[in-house]
Amino acid sequence: MLRTLLFQYIRLILVFTSVLFTSACQQKSESYSNSIFALGTIVDFTIVHRDPAIIQRASQSIQQDLDYMHFAFHAWQPGPLSRINQLLETTATFTVNPSVLPLIQTSKELSLQSQGLFNPAIGHLVRLWGFQSDFGPEDETPPDSEKLQQLVSSKPSLADIVIDNVQMHSKNPAVRLDMGAIAKGYALDRIIEHLQDQGIQSAIINAGGDLKAIGQHSQGRPWYVGIKHPRQANAVLAGLNVMPGESVFTSGDYERFFVHENRRYHHIIDPRTGYPASQSQSVTVITESATRADAASTALFIAGPKDWPAIAAAMNIKYVLFVDAEGNAEATPEMLKRMQEINPALKLISRSLP
């Protein structure tokens, strides 16, 4: 009896010691953060891994991937997308650059789901407003209303684009692609895939306020993200734990805009009116695909307070925080459950999707 107990005791000690040794031998994960200029904005990222060489390689690949996609998806500088725009205008059939084709195909699906509110075919409208510029609108005045009306009535839509394998043509010469409302999301999805291919399991990438995360923080907790207040520079609306693989995207009227005669004109153009959508201040959505999140945040912003739940349901977005033009907020019950440290000044109500 005593012998058995002694053996059990020794066995316990051995197991405990081996566990201690195993933990001590494991290299501690390192966390590396950096900020770079890419996609016309600032991209912040944090990569967690125990091997500094892999972190270094992954960091370089982020810059290279972003630079390539910036070139490929740029709407007004020479490159694959601007060439496609030239060819779409002719309505003739042409072979599409393979670096842009998947983005256009995905955009067609999402545009349809959003009932045309996410519409990357309105490049002519965006250009007329002056937002196709690295330096902001040249002339900070709204465009001529007749010109706007003319472009709206030409009804450019992604449904006008016909894709047959790698060939494409437009049925409407007014189509001009501007991927500003989806390219960032698409880029984040591709970058995260590339990081995972390199063995990175935990990272967070924020491209101009829109982010995607995998794994968790180096402290072994979920990534914790703040949602910026649309009108107060130093305040947040709430905090969120981001689950591995999730994307958090916000569309707001406060990032790219100009003020003319005390009225704010921002870059999110309503394709139905030709004017900036005026009934929303910001929309934050969470979903796994950054591409979908990007398109959906824009579509819901344009939909406004009346229609955002229907569009969110159509686009399969469960987590939404919507702030209207007066600063009143609505969140889906699922989103509400996830929001932490909610700003006490926020007038927030729950609203279910249909």
């Binding site: 330096f135 902001g136 829109d210 914790y224 703040g226 947040v236 406060y254």
Partner: protein, 118 residues
């Protein structure tokens, strides 16, 4: 209301207000500012009040540091959005002149948030 009640209110209400203010600020006071330009990346302490001219993609931007805060005070960009953003005063806050490719981010005590969506 007794004197004790009044004393309690006098201390508790400002206490709660202070707690709420600190809680809903995105981060804590910064110690340094990280500045990125097309030509360099550097970290500058925030304790000294100073100004600096930095070369960017378009020309020179001026950054002011004052009482643990930092801001753009001049820039060659057209919109001047970087200047309109005002002072950054908390750890994690970012100010950027995208056309001139210069950004500043306050760093210091650990920020409550790993990232901010906006």
């Amino acid at each position: 209301m007794t004197l004790a009640d009044r004393l309690l209110l006098a201390f508790v209400i400002p206490g709660i207000a202070l707690f709420a203010y600190n809680t809903w600020q995105p981060s804590t006071q910064a110690k340094q500012v990280e500045i990125i330009t097309p030509f360099e990346k550097k970290i500058v302490p925030l304790y000294a009040n100073t100004s600096m001219m930095l070369a960017g993609a378009l020309g020179k931007s001026k950054i002011d540091i004052d009482h643990h805060r930092a801001r753009f005070s001049s820039s060659p960009c057209k919109t001047k959005f970087c200047i309109h953003q005002g002072w950054a005063s908390h750890s994690g806050e970012l100010r950027a002149c995208l056309p001139n490719k210069i950004s500043l981010r306050l760093i210091g005590q650990t920020s409550k948030f790993d990232s901010i969506t906006f």
